[in-house]
Point group: C2
Chain length 235, copies 2
């Protein structure tokens, strides 16, 4: 990424844009971890702080978008520079969505603190750790333009999907055992789905980095949220 621009402040702006993306990535990872932490500790107040902090990611996205558009408008960047700015726009949109998923997890915490803890939920923290690490590593790929790490991050999506598929089945069984479990288990299903989507977005981000570094597509990943095909067992 050593490019000498005749106009010095273009490099400063690119640097600023990357820094905004880096801040968003750090926040998105922290929000994911903090939301699940609040769930584990049954801490409704901490969860509401996560919800409140989502506005910070949104504000950074707006800032990144305005900077990107003004760079395009005022500097008419060519080829590689333009591609990088457009990639930054897309990456910031993805990170904003990861923030939304973390917020959605946090929003369900207060109601879950009103119900007894749920057995299958023990998978959630591991799943969250896997997803949060994917975000961090995807951001590292972006900063270092590391195609091999990007491929490894994309491969790890399978792990998050496996957690999700397993949790989906456990929660259905758990609901069938006792109708008192249905409402809390439903909220956990949506939390698990949010984590699965966070993994998908980290993967998309890694795929985008891979493409921008190598000019090649990583290839279509198999879709491994299989839960859409889980059939009623009791009919």
């Amino acid at each position: 990424m050593d490019r000498a621009h005749t106009v010095k402040s273009f490099d400063e702006e690119i640097h600023q844009l990357r820094s905004l993306i880096g801040q968003m990535g750090g926040l998105a990872e922290a929000q994911t971890t903090d939301a699940v932490d609040a769930l584990l500790r049954r801490d409704a107040d901490a969860a509401m702080e996560v919800v409140a902090r989502d506005g910070q990611i949104d504000a950074l996205e707006t800032e990144a978008e305005q900077l990107a558009i003004s760079m395009i408008a005022l500097r008419a960047p060519m080829a590689d520079d333009l591609r990088e700015i457009v990639a930054a726009l897309k990456i910031s949109a993805m990170l904003e969505r990861i923030g939304d998923y973390a917020k959605n997890i946090a929003k369900r915490v207060p109601v879950l603190t009103q119900a007894a803890p749920i057995g299958p939920a023990v998978i959630i923290p591991e799943m969250a750790r896997a997803a949060a690490t994917m975000i961090r590593d995807a951001l590292d790929c972006y900063v270092d333009r590391d195609a091999e790490l990007a491929r490894a991050v994309a491969d790890r999506d399978q792990q998050v999907d496996d957690f999700y598929n397993s949790l989906f089945r456990s929660l259905l069984t758990y609901m069938m055992e006792n109708p008192h479990h249905i409402t809390p288990a439903t909220h956990l299903l949506f939390i698990a789905k949010n984590l699965e989507r966070i993994g998908d977005h980290a993967t998309n981000l890694a795929e985008m980095v891979f493409f921008s570094v190598t000019g090649q597509q990583l290839g279509d990943r198999p879709k491994t949220d299989n839960t859409a095909t889980i059939a009623p067992e009791n009919d």
Copy 2:
């Protein structure tokens, strides 16, 4: 939108970009309707056709993105033109996601045909109609740059949210009545959530049109998916 450009083919390209967005919007609306139709008719084959057709929307998004980037790179558009091209990029990303939600609905149809029909599901077609109409109207706002219609579309999101909140509660109750209902009702919960998200995206699209026409924000909508706070009733 009557702007005379010195370079004739810039207008042709803008026209082509709008036309791609129009095609994507038409497909996204049709996919939503067709997915729910397949659910109602319990037609797994029709559902799989919806899943297969999602690739068409993805291909159009790629085409729109490539066109937009080449327009920015080769023509260095200023002010209004640049804003329109960036808006088109964002709108095509939203429509691609609406397509994904429709596909996710369709993917759950085959398994639902294996279970007995579910009472509360009668709300789904109405909810789908409301969401599909929002997509169509949001696209009309985009084409006609109609700020007032955009505001009306955004207001209608409440209706889709009301359907969702009502369905969420009904489905939980339905699951509690009989454990045989749990698996199919869970799939319907995710289908309803997908429709609720489609409504959100149509709303975002309408808000973006409102902003690009008036330069004003429509203001923060209240978030009215209240289901995150639905408490366990049986504990």
